[in-house]
Amino acid sequence: MIGKKGHHRIAISWLVGASLFFYGWWNPAYLGLILFSILFNYSIGVMLVKKVWSHEKSLLFIGISGNIVLLGYFKYANFFVDNLNLAIGLDFNLKTIILPLAISFFTFQQIAYLVDAYKGKTREYNFLHYCLFVTFFPQLIAGPIVHHKEMMPQFAKDWVYKLNYDHLAIGITIFAVGLFKKVVLADQFALYATPVFNGAASGEQSMFFEAWFGALAYSLQLYFDFSGYSDMAIGLSRMFNIRLPLNFNSPYKASNIIDFWRRWHITLSAFLREYLYIPLGGNRHGKFIRYRNIMATMLLGGLWHGAGWNFIIWGGLHGAYLVLNHSWRTLIGTSAVPLGKFAHIFMIFLTFIAVTAAWVFFRAENMDAAMSILSGMIGLNGISLPNQFYPFLSHMVRSDYIIFNGLAPLIGGGAGKVTICWLVGGLFVVWILPNVQQWLTHYSLALDSSRNERQISWLSWRPTKVWAVMAGLVLGFALLNLKKTSQFLYFQF
């Protein structure tokens, strides 16, 4: 309404204020931190653009260091001190520091801004626009990590501040789908994943089926959680006539791990590639340096997700996967025969299993818990079968390796069939159904909409009555589920 009357500055101020209110709702104490971070980075950025100091490199160094110190203190200080105490037998106590919401996201976003400013890629430096670039509420909390050059031109356009029914229709539709993924699907899979991981954390040995159920359920929980959040961010943003970059593109359809990282958390991968992997030397200094750079990038990528050894191991595992994948490509060269259909399906399956195994470290409370689940997945902890099998199989089984305590004792009696149905349904959605970008293929959903793999014309969304009814039902059903909703997983990063 404000924008319609041409009061753009007031409209932006309102949006910035609302975004800060949204941020402060969590913990008002950290509003000062984000405001300080905005002022600090904006000042450095303007100085870099206006070349007020001849030592631009030093200025950039100060800017990046400031951000890293801030992130390091709030996110990694406790982890560092705990490990130092352990390594050299100290008993140094640091007060527990509460992690400010979204600090990893707004810090990385502003580091990218400083580097872009240093390289002369940023042109506009309106302070209000900059505040909106950092605080814009649909992407503030869990990404996507946006670039200055992607957002500022959009904020400068007049029509962005006027109500557009087309964009509103698209936005609310994507938002409804995202909300459904989060509250109906992700939270359902959490019911199956949580008992297994909690059980492992408390010393229970996960048996074969329940270890697989837990790991697969967590893979799907994280998928629908992050996918749902990404859809909601894009949808909300679109309601304000703003397009965000794509952050999620059916990652479990990836046929190798390189492809996976082009589909999962796309903007983080791009950030790590542009601002870490390439500055480290990228692939310019031979194979060994390239693999070292990949490992370093992925280890730091793991650490970005959380201050814990499990995240570092998860990053290291993905680094190793990537090194293997690149080595394999180098080995077979470009003359390799294209994959047949079955080989392609096998590769998708193999990639998914590798990713699922790595998620075990990502989710587990500690190393022992992760190892317990992985041991269970390879059958080292025995197998539990439904009680009904006891009369038929008990005489054949002479050891404790097979017991008859239900398919998944940690999840609970009778949960086996229901869990399997949900897992199969979830895998059908992630492997077979088209994603939101494909569904809305005619409406260039995100900033870079060239990623769409295939279009399914009969399924393509249009603002028709039928789709309106479907979207309305999905939204209504998702709203009904809100009462039992848990927090987004990516909020903790």
Binding site: L168, P195, G199, G406, P409, L410, G413, P463, L479, K484
Partner: protein, 363 residues
């Protein structure tokens, strides 16, 4: 085009929500929004006079409304049981009678998930009737020492609770959470879980017609009937399906946290409970504390919040009992009572075979 799309989308989203609200109000399985067409008073009267008890469907009847009616017509009994579903099976009517050494005749006023407010209101009602019971056996659950932990009692007997607080001279220091209750009532209208219960009730009514108060026939208590049965003394015998399931399905190694989220206990609640027990003693009633066991898996789970709460609360209960010079029967720990792992229906509900052992475990 898009404007029309948005209108239709909004209409259908509203339609889904309105349908849920309507079905919740119309069928209202917990009796939150409407007074049940079948009177709880009539149910209570019929129950006392019945030979083998009445069928009891939890989605048709509000157990609190029935138990408050029963509390007001306690009559001549030795022992009144007050507590949660953990104590619902305690009975002098069934063949495997409980607490036989202590109570010749039991009247069971236990309600599901009983909170401190339920304990106070039900015992106030039972001791303000014409004839007081000799003893009130309070089944103390790990979550009891909190105020405002839940609001189900608000729907059944807010006035009784208020009067009890007046008697305890606590009315100025405690709020009744009525605002909280009203907002919970509103948000419950948009709860999918409640809507599913409403739909189940609607389907049941469509298949079986309007519910009536049905007498249970003579039956084998070990086997049960197609639905749960409330016996004439207010105790419950679970449905055959539930009894069977407890024999077939294993108890999970990791149980959900049930009402033990947050702090272990609240000092204000503990103080209120102490006043409440003293007031009963002054009325000439003998209070007794009773603890029912949790499954051994809960005790084996070192991270269980239920277990951690029990470890803190059981000594507290014993200390309180010492101060008030009252007896404590049973324990949260099944080993103390001698209950086996296969004597549980789920992680927190012991079977009658376990419960009847409590009589010998006075500590």
């Amino acid at each position: 085009m898009s404007k029309r799309y948005l209108i239709i989308l909004g209409l259908f989203a509203t339609l889904v929500l309105s349908a849920a609200v309507s079905v919740n109000i119309v069928y209202d399985p917990a009796g939150i929004y409407r007074v049940s067409s079948n009177s709880s008073k009539e149910y209570a009267n019929r129950l006392i006079q019945s030979h083998h008890g009445l069928f009891f469907k939890s989605h048709s009847w509000n157990d609190r409304k029935i138990k408050i009616e029963l509390a007001q017509s306690v009559g001549e009994v030795d022992c009144v049981i007050i507590g949660s579903s953990h104590a619902m099976q305690l009975s002098s009517f069934r063949k495997k009678s409980s607490l036989a050494e202590m109570c010749e005749k039991i009247f069971n006023l236990a309600v599901s998930g009983a909170l401190l407010e339920d304990h106070i209101a039900l015992s106030f009602a039972a001791t303000n009737s014409n004839q007081k019971p000799n003893k009130i056996i309070f089944c103390i659950d790990p979550w009891v020492f909190h105020i405002g932990k839940g609001l189900a009692w608000q729907n059944a007997y807010p006035d009784v609770y208020m009067n009890a607080l007046k008697e305890l001279e606590q009315v100025d220091t405690l709020t009744t959470n009525s605002d909280k209750f009203n907002s919970a009532k509103l948000s419950n209208l948009l709860s999918l879980e409640y809507t599913i219960r409403s739909i189940k009730k609607a389907m049941f009514l469509a298949a079986n017609g309007k519910e009536s108060i049905k007498d249970a026939p003579s039956f084998d208590e070990e086997v049960g009937l197609e639905d749960s049965v409330l016996l004439p003394d207010g105790s419950i015998i679970y449905s055959a399906k539930k009894i069977d399931n407890s024999k077939v399905f294993p108890i999970p190694l990791i149980e959900p946290t049930y009402l033990t989220e947050g702090t272990y206990y609240d000092l204000n609640a503990l103080d209120l409970y102490r006043r409440h027990i003293r007031s009963l003693i002054n009325k000439g009633v003998t209070p007794v504390f009773l603890l029912t066991p949790y499954h051994p898996n809960v005790w084996a789970n070192i991270n269980s919040k239920n277990r951690l709460t029990m470890e803190v609360v059981e000594p507290l209960i014993r200390k309180l009992a010492n101060q008030l010079e009252i007896d404590v029967l049973g324990s949260f720990d099944p080993k103390v009572i001698g209950c086996k792992p296969n004597e549980f229906m789920d992680f927190q509900h012991a079977t009658i075979d376990c419960i009847i052992r409590i009589k010998n475990t006075k500590l």
